[in-house]
């Protein structure tokens, strides 16, 4: 059987026309039905603005929020991956106690409302775990360079406690899902592989390290990419504890300017940049890993 070259048929044209009609309909509904004055021209200045003092372009509120979301997502995914891998390995352990520790973590986290966890971490555990006043005052006493570095990598001193509890909460939340991804990935490797490794005299750990994990990673990568994307989007929930990330800054901007829809649409676009970027990175990683293993 030879493959036909795809051609634009009547049905395709119909679907296309229907889609365009729907888009036009929505556009007119929004224009006429929604009592709203669009002011798109005001939006670009909230992304970047020209600083008259240094004469250069600097990020404004929305871009600052975007950068905070980026920092938040990177720290949270790194930490979540560590937690997830460690807990995933516990879930695969031969000791019943370790398996139960992993199971308890996954079930307790996955079955609690994320918003509740955010509040609990910020208001209760954050107070005990992070000696906020101490950490903050230590940071304030550092040289301006150190302060600048911490601010560039983490958060300004005033936001440190909120930022760190946000990172921990997100990491713990997403770590539970990564645990299951890691466990399922390793368990999906055929039993013959483990048996062959055992027959060759490999220890359990050697078997995991040299036989199971390298094969499992190929199966783990696609759902892990999905989980990282979910983490970026979930990071918006920490706006409730006033971490100045993209959603929070956007909502503050809306309260000041009432540019409600313009701001929401811009925020959506900015999240898309992050999540789609994450998708592309993972597509490349999968390819690279497949080629390296081939």
């Amino acid at each position: 059987m030879t493959l036909r070259k795809p051609k634009l048929g009547v049905l395709d044209a119909l679907v296309l026309v229907a889609l365009i009609a729907a888009a036009v309909y929505v556009f007119y509904r929004v224009r006429d039905g929604l009592h709203y004055r669009w002011e798109w021209e005001a939006i670009p200045q909230y992304l970047l603005r020209r600083d008259p003092e240094i004469g250069a372009w600097v990020p404004n509120v929305l871009m600052q929020g975007f950068l905070t979301t980026l920092r938040l997502s990177i720290w949270a995914t790194v930490l979540a991956s560590l937690i997830g891998t460690a807990m995933g390995l516990l879930r695969l352990s031969s000791s019943r106690f370790r398996r139960w520790v992993g199971l308890a973590y996954v079930e307790l986290t996955r079955n609690s409302p994320s918003l509740v966890l955010v509040f609990i971490f910020y208001y209760f555990l954050g107070e005990q775990w992070l000696p906020s006043v101490g950490m903050e005052s230590v940071l304030r006493r550092q040289s301006p360079e150190t302060q600048w570095l911490v601010q560039a990598l983490v958060a300004p001193p005033g936001m440190l406690t909120a930022f760190i509890s946000a990172v921990i909460t997100l990491a713990v939340l997403e770590g539970a899902y990564i645990t299951e991804i890691v466990r399922a990935g390793v368990q999906s490797i055929e039993a013959g592989q483990r048996e062959a490794a055992a027959a060759l005299g490999l220890t359990r750990w050697q078997c995991m390290r040299h036989v199971l994990l390298p094969q499992a990673i190929q199966r783990i990568l696609p759902p892990l990419g999905g989980q990282f994307i979910a983490t970026i989007k979930d990071s918006a929930i920490v706006s409730v504890i006033s971490v100045p990330e993209l959603t929070f800054r956007g909502m503050e901007l809306m309260s000041s300017t009432y540019l409600t829809f313009e701001t929401w649409i811009t925020i959506t676009g900015l999240y898309f940049v992050l999540t789609f970027g994450c998708s592309m990175v993972f597509a490349r990683l999968e390819n690279a890993w497949r080629r390296a293993r081939a």
Binding site: Y36, Q45, E127, S242, E252, S256, Y258, L259
Partner: protein, 276 residues
């Protein structure tokens, strides 16, 4: 024997404790002073102020800086204390828990003094008075001209969650259906979309919105329907801080500075061009 020994030990301990209690009376006072928020702020060199965006009390300008009446007040306060000011924009619904858990030193955020709130936190003397006003949808609330017109089960009103406007809705319009949102912008949008008959919000928001959308919105009742005092909010049990703030407010009030700033932000719109 053991029981007798335990009794003696208890008596000795009680005696030691009573002595140390007498000795530490002075120390206690010193400790309280040292632990007061004012002292902490001076030591840290930074006054952390909790606030929430609300035109024209506090808002983000084009350059990403905070401006507004409250921002002026807090900046002058920090300047008079000889420290830097740091603003912590916080969601309104969580602003009191955040103060109680020490995320910032004081709320200067247009918070109205109410007995219910005062049971949880301490208020300074008022540095301002604010009122709640109502703005309504032209088509939906056509012919409504008194507050009582809105107090009917088929009428829907909206306000910001946890605000004094929300309290005013519950108190003044008990029969109306209520819909509360986290942000002022959502409240305004709900009204503009014609999903609700009216919104209640602190002045001057209702007037501004009616001016901005004259075809859609109107002011059924002129002026404010309630009046409430606005104070700084601090944690309980810290009288040094409270006294400092009270005195500061008296000083700037006597100078006429408060009235001058209030006139700039509430009676002119010269700052409008700073926003967008």
């Amino acid at each position: 024997m053991i029981r007798r020994f335990a009794g003696t030990a208890l008596a000795v301990m009680a005696w030691i404790m009573s002595i140390s209690a007498v000795a530490s009376g002075g120390e206690l006072q010193q400790k309280l002073t040292e632990e007061s928020t004012v002292e902490q702020v001076i030591k840290r060199g930074v006054l952390r102020v909790g606030m929430s965006t609300f035109v024209p009390w506090a808002m983000t300008d084009k350059s990403g800086n905070l401006i507004g009446f409250e921002i002026d007040v807090a900046s002058r306060l920090a300047q008079d204390m000889g420290v830097k000011v740091e603003f912590v924009p916080t969601k309104w619904a969580g602003i009191i828990p955040a103060l109680l858990t020490g995320k910032f030193d004081v709320i200067i955020g247009g918070m109205g003094i109410t007995p219910q709130r005062n049971l949880k936190v301490n208020f300074s003397i008022p540095y301002d008075y604010s009122g709640v006003a109502i703005v309504a949808h032209r088509q939906l609330a056509a012919g409504f001209s008194r507050l009582e017109d809105f107090n009917r089960p088929e009428v829907i009103v909206t306000a910001r969650l946890g605000s004094t406007s929300a309290a005013a809705v519950n108190k003044l319009l008990p029969n109306a259906q209520k819909r509360f949102f986290d942000d002022e912008s959502q409240v305004v949008q709900e009204l503009l979309n014609g999903k609700v008959h009216a919104l209640l919000a602190g002045t001057p928001l209702p007037t501004y919105q009616a001016l901005k959308y004259p075809d859609t919105l109107f002011l059924p009742v002129k002026g404010a329907v309630t009046k409430e005092p606005i104070g700084f909010v601090v944690r309980k049990g810290d009288f040094d801080t409270l006294n400092f703030f009270d005195s500061w407010i008296r000083v700037v009030e006597a100078e006429g500075w408060l009235a001058e700033r209030k006139a700039y932000w509430f009676e002119t719109q010269n700052w409008e061009s700073l926003l967008k």
